[in-house]
Amino acid sequence: MPDLTSNTAGIISPNPFWLASAPPANSGAQVQRAFDAGWGGAVWKTLGQPIQNVSSRFGAIQWMGQNGVGFNNIELITDRPLDVNFREIYETKKRYPKHAIIASLMVETREEWREIIKRAEDAGADGLELNFGCPHGMCERGMGSAVGQEPRVNERITGWVKEFANVPVLVKLTPNVGDILPHGLAAQAGGADGVSLINTIKSIIGVDIDRFVPEPRVSTKSTNGGYCGAAVRPIALHMVAALAREPQFQIPISGIGGITNWRDAVEFLLLGSSSVQVCTEVMLRGYRIVEDMIEGLEDYMRAHDFARLDDFVGKAVPAYSEWGNLDINFETIAKIDPASCIGCNRCVVACHDGAHQCIHIDESGKTHVPFVDESECVGCNLCQIVCPVPGCISMVEVDNGYPPATWNEHVNEGVQVRPKKGAH
């Protein structure tokens, strides 16, 4: 049986699945139900001076009948009294001593930080997460992403917190920056024990086109909100990987953003996350999704003979490289399996209008299976992406006789690259 125990900067949980700081981790009753369902940890809904929220607060992208592929919110931090939150953290920790509870915090002054950290630790929090990421509302008040976007401010406040804190400190980073690296390094320089990312991405989710008001509509106005859910996963994966592969960056990562199932979680782990956090998918479908995450992860580990998470955390990081290091002489072409082709011709139109015009309809009319002109196929993947039948189109490696050569080697050492294909 693989061991799922996760250790993120000294925060130990029975598995790497945590609730992200958000509505699913808003109260003790909720977090306890989540632990019963199998979640290994929870980052409590951000604590600070309780705020007042608006209604409505959420918007979502509908795509091909699925509602919530992308999600956005204009909610602020906790609106519940701090003493209630801390009492519930205490009660929950007492009942679930093996689970991780991380207090997400957001206050302004050094004194406030000192005070709230003490209360969080007194309540039994296993770690602290500094919310330097909220991209709406709180940043207008000089907190959240207003901190996260300024490496010097980030470093200074992290430094304060480290002065006061006895438990591990994670800095939650905002993705609303051009390059994540200086921000991760600032947190590290401030003494953070780890980082978590991403928080939500500044966004307008849509517009009510009859009322002429963006969404979500609050009476006659709206505001930009934070984008999250499955659609943001690629952005989050990149930011996690960008930190994980930076030699100077040495602290652990808790990965967040668009995780919906075990497979998504494995991707984050492979790119260097020690734990993963989930918000939107729980909001859409409930705590129960974690059962599949745990089983799927265990199965994956069994299949690869991984005994513990450390056996594969970061395993895909070395393979994330610069474009200039990719092997230009590596060549693939599309192959269509005639037995599984259903004849929708989506690959044909995609290749003709969106790629290199090398998949053709069989003009003889003898077959519904299109054919690939292999001399022209550049191996771009588009046909495989649009094909509705799993496994019908595969990208097959061809031996073109050229030994591996990268662009950098070509430019610097004159190594020969193969002739271009499809560039007429």
């Binding site: 497979r263 129960r288 999704i289 599949d292 089983e295 799927g296 199965d299 039948v389 799993p390």
Partner: protein, 437 residues
């Protein structure tokens, strides 16, 4: 336990509902809304967490999906094939309310459980030996489900079955276009692979082993002996050749070979699901003319409407509102004498007529076996069915009952649910533990 013969008439049958391909399964699984407190779960007698097992198919966690199914229903592989899903889970899918075809739950269940069998996954281990032993009468779905659960609790089990094959009617009764006998036996053996279950076939209770002997051997008894032989109709000519019970006939062609080469016209008497299975089976076995004779009509028959629709499509004719009053023939039956029945199913005098038939199958019910327990003090029987409380306890301490012998004849899935629940109750009885321990 005996092996099935390699040549069996049932082998000519093809699956009525084809298995899903990977592609179809993925599309269908992604269509599921993943409802919460879902109506389909409540419509499943074993309460499988259907939305979860379907989501797990969608995420590629097939092993977890199969486990979710087996956790509630250890015969989930055959139930995926034999359950009347139209009136169970799929019938209550919320998509019906939206006017959208329901999720193909049965086929998705088959997809996941077939993968488990192909891969040889096992999920359960016997509990530490408790030193207690339970005797289970019958080796059908009820007893198999009960024994498996009892083994998980660590109690030793012995199954006694008067037949040579195990699996009960799941092996000998269900229509081969849903499932063939060998698959039921494979499944039963997979269930038994948890270990510690002794199977004694060819033992009829109480003739071969008395209740007293059983009581001596075991700390608790589980009654799962199902129903008895086909009921006969006491009509003139009933001893002619070519008149037989439908369940008996089905067992013969499932476990061996029947020769129907001389049969031109077959009549099945009855309007239940056994009758509907029998007419469809006769058509597939090559009988040119197959007629179902029933006292009522399609609107009030007890057989499922979807089964009758399929039978009709396959060429079965119905002779509605008619009741048999005798058989005609010399040596072998040549016709059934019938009389028309009114809307309240009463015979209408003066409407006597003959329906030609050289084979007649009786599908008018099966005997209830309540009398088997006549010598077991404290076990009450009503209308031939064993009386129990909600979890299967009879009036006699340590004796439990489940499945057809308790419910009077329902589905495999009911037998599994009742067997499992009775096992939990037996565990509580044997250990003095809480029922949900």
């Amino acid at each position: 336990m005996s092996k099935l013969p390699d040549v069996r008439s049932e082998l000519t049958f093809e699956d009525f509902k084809a298995a899903l391909t990977d592609h179809q399964a993925m599309v269908e699984a992604n269509r599921c809304l993943y409802c919460y407190d879902a109506p389909c779960i409540k419509a499943c007698p074993t309460g499988i967490d259907i939305p979860s097992f379907i989501r797990k198919i969608a995420t590629g966690n097939i092993r977890g999906s199969a486990k979710t199914i087996f956790d509630s229903n250890i015969l989930g592989m055959s139930c995926a094939r034999v359950c009347p899903v139209e009136v169970l889970c799929e019938g209550d899918c919320v998509d019906n309310a939206a006017g959208i075809p329901p999720i193909k739950i049965g086929k998705l269940q088959r997809y996941a459980t077939d993968r488990a069998f192909e891969a040889g996954w096992t999920f359960y281990q016997a509990g530490p030996d408790t030193g207690k032993s339970v005797g289970l009468i019958g080796a059908g779905p009820a007893s198999l489900a009960a024994a498996h659960r009892l083994r998980r609790f660590g109690h030793r089990c012995t199954l006694y079955d008067k037949r040579d094959v195990i699996g009960g009617l799941n092996t000998t009764g269900v229509a081969p276009h849903k499932m063939k006998a060998d698959r039921s036996i494979t499944e039963a053996e997979w269930v038994l692979s948890i270990g510690g279950i002794d199977v004694q076939t060819g033992v009829s209770i109480p003739d071969d082993l008395t209740w007293e002997q059983l009581n001596e051997r075991h700390d608790a008894l589980f009654l799962g002996f199902g129903l008895g032989a086909d009921s006969a109709l006491d009509l003139p000519g009933k001893d002619l050749d070519g008149i037989e019970g439908a369940v008996d006939f089905i067992e013969r062609f499932k476990l061996g070979v029947v020769d129907l080469s001389g049969v031109q016209r077959a009549v099945v008497l009855g309007g239940g699901n056994t009758a509907l299975d029998a007419v469809r089976e006769l058509i597939t076995l090559g009988v040119p003319h197959v007629t179902m004779v029933y006292r009522g009509d399609a609107s009030n028959m007890s057989g499922y409407a979807h089964e009758w629709d399929a039978a009709k499509t396959e060429g079965v004719r119905a002779h509605w509102n008619a009741q048999p009053i005798g058989y005609v023939g010399e040596g072998r039956v040549s016709a059934v004498r019938c009389i028309q029945t009114s809307a309240d199913k009463r015979p209408v005098p003066g409407t006597e007529h003959e329906v030609p038939a050289d084979l007649v199958l009786l599908a008018v019910g099966q005997a209830k076996l309540g009398e088997l327990v006549a010598r077991l003090d404290g076990v009450a029987v009503e209308w031939g069915c064993i009386v129990t409380d909600a979890v299967g306890a009879t009036g006699r301490p340590g004796v439990y009952a489940a499945g057809d012998c308790r419910n009077g004849g329902k589905e495999v899935v009911n037998a599994v649910a009742e067997g499992r629940d009775a096992a939990i109750a037996i565990h509580a009885y044997l250990t003095g533990a809480d029922q949900d321990a």
